[in-house]
């Protein structure tokens, strides 16, 4: 296995090699041990300042990144677009350059526009971690999902994973597909035709429109959130109808006749994509995903900051 990442930024899973992903996951193992210590902090990044730029709302991801940064002893500054000069018409490069002028080494950014991080990486020196760009990629989520599957099943290779729901608007889906395929898993997507990108099968994934069939096939079901805020037109008649077709409840799960690991990137619309019973059941690893998120993000920040050649 390689000792360092082949990339300078984490812009997406697409740019990572399988070696990179495995290095991140194995480093995250060590950080998971660290965050279960009585003192959950190591001094590795004490000379690093990280700016968290969130041009879009986020609770879980921002908190997770912030915890990861603090547990590595980095200094952090937070920036939320809602109360910033972005509102006054400042461009993205100006905003970021102003922050970098205050001597910031790394930028963690979430932005509503796909490719915002790639664009930024061409114009600034600091290292960039993509915390979600529009409906494009959400690499750390995919890494923590892979880490959680690996933790539960021992390996990702050869496992069958179905991603259910709003694939069209989901950055989690795209990053997951790239990540799981690079690790040797079989991936299926399942959802209503209106929420399925037209060329999705060109990514080498199976497409299934019947949730029961998808569940019968898989080892792990990753239930995506219906992103009501991104649906500027109606993609399905009513939430109730969506739930009837693609909602996962205990009756359906029990009728499959095998154990399926349930994942959800959060936040959950309880009673829509999955019922409370399923979300809180023994096969659900939703809260493990959240715990692992901090360890995986620590690994990403550590490995990017630690590259010895720059």
């Amino acid at each position: 296995m390689s000792r360092k990442l082949s990339v300078k930024h984490l812009l997406g899973i697409k740019q990572l090699t399988t070696d990179d992903i495995e290095l991140i996951l194995s480093t995250a193992d060590h950080f998971k041990e660290v965050i279960n210590r009585p003192i959950k902090k190591v001094p590795s990044l004490r000379d690093i300042t990280i700016a968290n730029l969130f041009f879009e709302n986020s609770t879980r991801t921002r908190t997770s990144f912030e915890l990861a940064e603090r547990r590595l002893s980095a200094d952090t500054v937070n920036f939320a677009a809602s109360n910033s000069s972005v509102k006054k018409g400042e461009t993205l490069i100006d905003t970021v350059n102003n922050i970098l002028a205050m001597k910031v080494d790394m930028v963690v950014m979430r932005h509503p526009n796909p490719g915002a991080c790639v664009f930024l990486s061409k114009h600034i020196d600091a290292k960039i971690v993509n915390a979600g760009d529009g409906a494009h990629e959400h690499p750390t989520q995919a890494l923590l999902d892979a880490f959680s599957i690996r933790e539960k099943h021992g390996t990702v290779k050869g496992k069958k994973i179905v991603i259910v729901g709003d694939v069209l608007h989901s950055r989690v889906a795209l990053s997951n597909i790239f990540c799981l395929q690079k690790l040797g898993a079989e991936v299926m997507v399942c959802g209503p035709r209106t929420l399925m990108p037209r060329y999705i099968s060109s990514l080498g994934v199976k497409v299934e429109y019947d949730l029961r069939k998808a569940l019968e096939w898989c080892d792990v079901a990753n239930m995506l959130r219906i992103q009501l805020e991104r649906q500027d037109i109606k993609f399905f008649p009513t939430l109730r109808e969506y739930t009837m077709q693609y909602g996962l409840d205990m009756d359906l799960l029990n009728s499959i006749g095998k154990e399926i690991t349930i994942m959800h990137p959060g936040p959950i619309n309880r009673g829509v994509e999955i019922t409370s019973e399923v979300a809180d059941s023994a096969n659900s690893i939703i809260l493990d995903q959240v715990e692992n998120g901090v360890a995986v993000r620590m690994a990403v920040l550590y490995l990017l900051a630690g590259r010895s050649d720059d």
Binding site: K41, P43, G306, S308
Partner: protein, 181 residues
């Protein structure tokens, strides 16, 4: 110029005598180890630590000696100067109030021990910390760190290397001095 032939510092027989002596020195101070713990530093200190633990268990007929393995990677001061790969940390107890014996194989600049001291503090505030090393490379320290228990002391220059073979990994126990110029 070709590298000179390695010089043997300890033979397998001397090696075993040294391990036994170190164990008895530990027992002199720590008695039955009820208030003491052994912590091996990753990656190579754990070889010595495991051997010491095993020998102590045989001598004391006590298999309840608290033992842990500690990785110092996240605490090192040469982060970003070279690519560091972490190893496993395995300490499932708290060292609060304990007498800690920190174990590494070769004491050279003292920087690993410095990192180890910092890393250890994440597991509580020990009562007392001692250092044991198999090889003390005298005159090469960058930091004011000395070992209390020393297997063998060697005088080396920085172009020389000390290599420790373990019978678990290498077939036989040896300590070699390698010269590269």
């Amino acid at each position: 110029m070709a590298a000179m032939a390695p010089r043997l510092i300890l033979t397998p027989q001397q090696f075993s005598i040294t391990i036994n002596r170190l164990c008895h020195q530990l027992i002199e101070v720590h008695d039955d180890f009820s208030d003491s713990v052994i912590i091996g530093l990753q990656p190579r200190g754990v070889n010595l630590a495991r051997r010491i633990r095993q020998t102590l268990q045989e001598i004391l007929k006590n298999d309840k000696i608290l033992y842990g393995e500690l990785d110092t990677t996240f605490y090192r001061d040469d982060f970003r100067k070279k690519d560091l790969v972490p190893n496993q940390t395995n300490i499932n107890f708290i060292i609060e109030g304990k007498n800690v014996v920190l174990i590494d194989d070769v004491l050279f600049t003292g920087r690993t021990i410095r990192a180890g001291l910092d890393a250890m503090m994440a597991f509580g505030r020990p009562n007392d910390v001692e250092l044991m090393v198999l090889v003390d490379r005298r005159f090469s320290r960058n930091l004011p760190i000395q070992a209390k228990y020393v297997g063998v002391t060697v005088d080396t220059i920085s172009s020389e290397k000390v290599k420790v073979d373990w019978k678990e990994n290498d077939g036989e126990d040896h300590i070699w001095l390698l010269t590269n110029d």
